[in-house]
């Protein structure tokens, strides 16, 4: 493929940029510094997959330590070097670094960049009927800032003092003082630099997504006809735009405290045999700033997954999504609430307890729109005609995780109950299910569903089924037992529990979790094989393999730059006309006018027929000018 492309370039290089619909660049402009949103989406996806593998491997290493505390890890020395102690054990400080990097990588690099970056880029122009993003150049920058950020974060894994190790929340003073933990030296500096670039990338992407959705919708694509995926990506981008700058400010102040002797977060510290001069700062201030991003971040990660699921479940149930307006409403409501619940992460930080009661009230309100979403998914499945594509399986799995993990949020959002559960394994179980696994399943569902559009080939369904069942059962086996461990009071981020008499009961359960984690990671290699194999050897896809209604399936199997060879299609209806009574088929794409489907139109839709011709005439008038 690459060779063929280069060949074409040589001939058309001089005017390569003028023909917008048939854009042929050379290898560099097609695959590397591309401004085609589809290729940028794929770049995010491949980078995200690489990060997911690294993040997963890190977790398996610390699960070995937790499940088998007596195990000889000498065999890891070729990879980990000095991080394996002379006795063949994992270094206690490196354990913290592993936990920290696992969290950072999974939350930001996989579930933010890998999920939003991939699908917002890939789907927004395709589903709203645009030729590309509002600014292809900014979009390219967004990826390359992310790439630079990735490189720095990756380098930090290999430096002598180790990567950042103060937890992914990087609370100062621990993260500010190299004398407190080795990872707070160069590792933390690189972490902050990488995150600063990441935030730039995220903002460049977000501005583009918002602008594109507002301005570049095709004729007839009103907001009330947007697929729920686009609603989710759009609102996610708005949340990111409002919250990431706050993390940037927190990171900046932390950089000042670390390098320039300021005291934003430091006060009254005696460490390493000396009293530091810093006074008047507040570590709590950092936590407020961090969670002002940190909590919306949960929804930045989750909403795109829920959007993808809505689309996949509706398509494969062959039913309209139940309560479209309620779905949009709950996305909006969740987005607003996500900004005013951040301090529920801080009930026991010494924050004023009155503030705690306010945040508890607001936090539990967020359960209402979440519940509405779950009920709507269930109602969509009800009386459907369900096709279990791999994407559909992962979507159903997502709903199950969203329920199981969401319900435990009601415990943690209750400040009185949170006193005991805060920073125990109960929390670990909660967010890994509701945010980690659910979003991860959304990502996988999206890949399985839109793979034919990305590469023009189908992924192998059977391997997809095996992948799903192993992962679905595996994830529950990993995270469900953690609830029990948490109720028993086991704190998180503990290197080992062997010096507790009381906290030493769960060796068998921890072993079980570790084995399940290794198996679950192993199952992901089935996906990797399927993904790369199908890219080249998969069955050729048809134009609309899932018989779906949305616009991306009206493009050619392998859309070029510009997406539609001719005119951009006009949209006449919402995207969920599945199984309409007395319609010829069980789906009616958005591009079919009501005038062509008189047999299935609802009364108010017959009135729309007149408008369809009206709008066409208007277009003609504009063209004449």
């Amino acid at each position: 493929m690459a060779i063929a492309d280069i060949h074409v370039t040589e001939e058309t290089h001089s005017d390569g940029h003028e023909h917008h619909d048939e854009h042929h660049g050379n290898f560099w402009t097609t695959y590397v510094f591309t401004i085609d949103h589809k290729m940028i989406g794929k770049q995010f996806l491949i980078t995200g997959i690489a990060w997911a593998l690294i993040g997963g491997l890190l977790s398996v290493i610390f699960r070995l330590q937790l499940g088998f505390p007596d195990m000889q890890l000498e065999w890891l020395r070729p990879i980990l070097g000095e991080w394996i102690t002379a006795e063949g054990k994992l270094d206690a400080e490196f354990y913290l670094a592993l936990v920290t990097m696992h969290g950072t990588i999974m939350v930001f690099f996989v579930l933010t960049a890998g999920l939003s970056g991939t699908f917002s880029n890939f789907l927004i122009p395709l589903q709203i009927g645009a030729r590309d993003m509002a600014s292809g150049f900014m979009n390219m920058l967004s990826y390359w800032f992310f790439f630079a950020s990735s490189v720095i974060m990756l380098i930090s894994l290999f430096i002598e003092t180790g990567p950042a190790s103060g937890g992914w929340v990087i609370y100062p003073p621990l993260s500010a003082l190299p004398q407190a933990v080795n990872g707070s030296g160069l590792g933390m500096t690189l972490w902050l630099a990488a995150m600063a670039l990441f935030i730039v990338s995220s903002l460049l992407g977000g501005i583009n997504y918002i602008t594109t959705v507002i301005n570049l919708r095709t004729e007839g694509m009103s907001f009330s006809r947007l697929p729920l995926t686009i609603w989710a990506f759009f609102i996610t981008a708005v949340i990111g735009l409002l919250s990431f700058p706050v993390l940037f400010s927190a990171a900046l102040l932390l950089i000042f405290d670390r390098s320039f002797g300021t005291s934003f977060f430091l006060s009254d510290i005696y460490i390493g045999g000396e009293a530091l001069p810093n006074q008047g700062g507040s570590p709590i201030l950092f936590q407020h700033l961090f969670w002002f991003l940190g909590h919306p971040e949960v929804y930045i990660v989750l909403l795109p997954a829920l959007g993808i699921t809505s689309e996949v479940i509706a398509t494969n149930s062959r039913k309209p999504i139940f309560g479209y307006k309620a779905m949009v409403g709950s996305i909006l409501f969740i987005a607003i609430l996500s900004f005013i619940v951040w301090a529920h992460h801080m009930f026991v930080t010494g924050m004023n307890p009155f503030l705690g009661s306010i945040f508890m009230l607001l936090t539990l309100i967020i359960a209402v729109p979440s519940a509405v979403k779950v009920f709507n998914y269930l109602a969509t499945l009800w009386k459907g005609n369900i096709r279990f594509t791999p994407a559909m399986l992962f979507s159903i799995g997502l709903v199950s995780f969203f329920i199981s993990g969401g319900l435990t949020g009601i415990f943690l959002g209750n400040s009185a109950i949170d006193i005991q559960l805060h920073d125990t394994y109960f929390v670990v179980a909660h967010f890994h299910l509701v945010m980690g696994s659910a979003s991860f399943f959304g990502l996988l569902a999206g890949v399985y569903h839109w793979f034919p559009k990305m590469y023009g080939r189908m992924m192998d369904a059977k391997l997809g089924y095996i992948h799903f069942w192993l992962t679905f059962v595996g994830v529950y086996m990993v995270f469900f037992p953690m609830h029990y461990i948490g109720i028993a009071g086991y704190p998180r981020r503990y290197y080992s529990f062997t010096n507790f008499d009381t906290l030493n009961n769960f060796t068998d359960l921890n072993m079980f979790v570790s084995v399940a984690a290794i198996l679950t990671l192993g199952a992901q290699f089935i996906f990797l094989f399927n993904f790369f194999y199908s890219m080249y050897r998969g069955r050729k896809a048809t134009t609309n393999p899932w018989q779906s209604n949305t616009l991306e399936w009206t493009t050619p199997v392998n859309p070029g730059h510009g997406n539609w060879p001719g005119k951009i299609p006009t949209v006449y209806r919402w995207p969920y006309d599945y199984s309409k009574p007395s319609a010829k088929e069980d789906f009616i794409p958005q591009t079919i006018p009501f005038s062509e489907t008189p047999e299935s139109n609802l009364p108010h839709e017959n009135d729309m027929i007149k408008l369809e011709t009206d709008s066409d005439q208007k277009v003609v008038v504009v063209d004449e000018k």
Partner: protein, 355 residues
Amino acid sequence: MFQFIVIFGVLLLLIILYTLFRISRLVSVVKGSDKKVATTSNKVNAALFMFFLFGAFGFFFWYSWTYFDDYTLPVASEHGIVTDTLFWTTMAVTGIVFLITNVLLFWFSYAYQHKEGRKASFYPDNHKIEILWTVVPALVLTGLVFTGLRAWNDITSEAQSDAEIIEIMGYQFAWGVRYPGVKDNALGEYNYQMIDAVNQFGMDLSDKNTYDDFMPIEMHIPKGKEVLLKIRARDVLHSVFLPHFRVKMDAVPGMPTHFKFTATKSTAEMRAELENPEFNYFVTCTEICGRGHFSMVMKLVVDEPADYEKWKAEQPTWLKLNPDYLAKVPEANRELAKIKSGMVEGDENNLKASL
């Protein structure tokens, strides 16, 4: 050699798997099942959902029931009983929702699997149902919020004026406790700049209240009397966690925090209840604080009130253990310091009179 065999075995396995994969693909192409929707796979997946539902719920109930005593922690404080009740109430409410929604999810998936010739029902919305399932969760949550708020307000309210005050300080990687001393029953002032290897708490020896303060190596609290923990940290964030008392509060450098609670069971009573003569309460850390985070354990003993007073009276004061620091006490107060710290016998009231 062994490694070579392992690598060879893994390679062989991968080749076999790949061959199986190729065969199954070719078979499906020959059969043409690629192009059908109502395949065996569809039925198998639907059935697996039901299988998963029963299997997973089976495990869930079996484990929750059989190992209940292993994963529940006995409670030994007054407010702990309240928060535990809240916890189990929430468990009941969410448990029911958990059951119903997961059952519906998997059952619908099974019941409405693709069947040739059937058409799904076009059912885009129903405002009555939607309002119902918005309002009902909202009401249930309101109930939970208000019971939670009441408990939270009680727990975080002002401590009683006669509460037993104990200072606990986190540092890398241990806890230190400081008692106000039996003579004045008041904690002395401190300043972090006065901390050194011996004066770990940075006690300001110009304050008379410091002279009888003492720092034991294990923590004791009285049963049945309110205890007010004054919490601080010396280097990085730590978090005081007393699992059996449902107590948790961060220790923050530069910002003292506090938590009040009343123990209801002495160590001896808890040992009897658990039939474990080795049992001890403990304090541990729940905020990541560096290499030794996992090892910040301190033994905690709950005494009967009389035993507690006796134990307190027996503890040597810090100044008595570190007489060198008398030099740092202002000249005028040295005699008082000697008497209050128990270095010399005497009556501080007499001393004041003679001065």
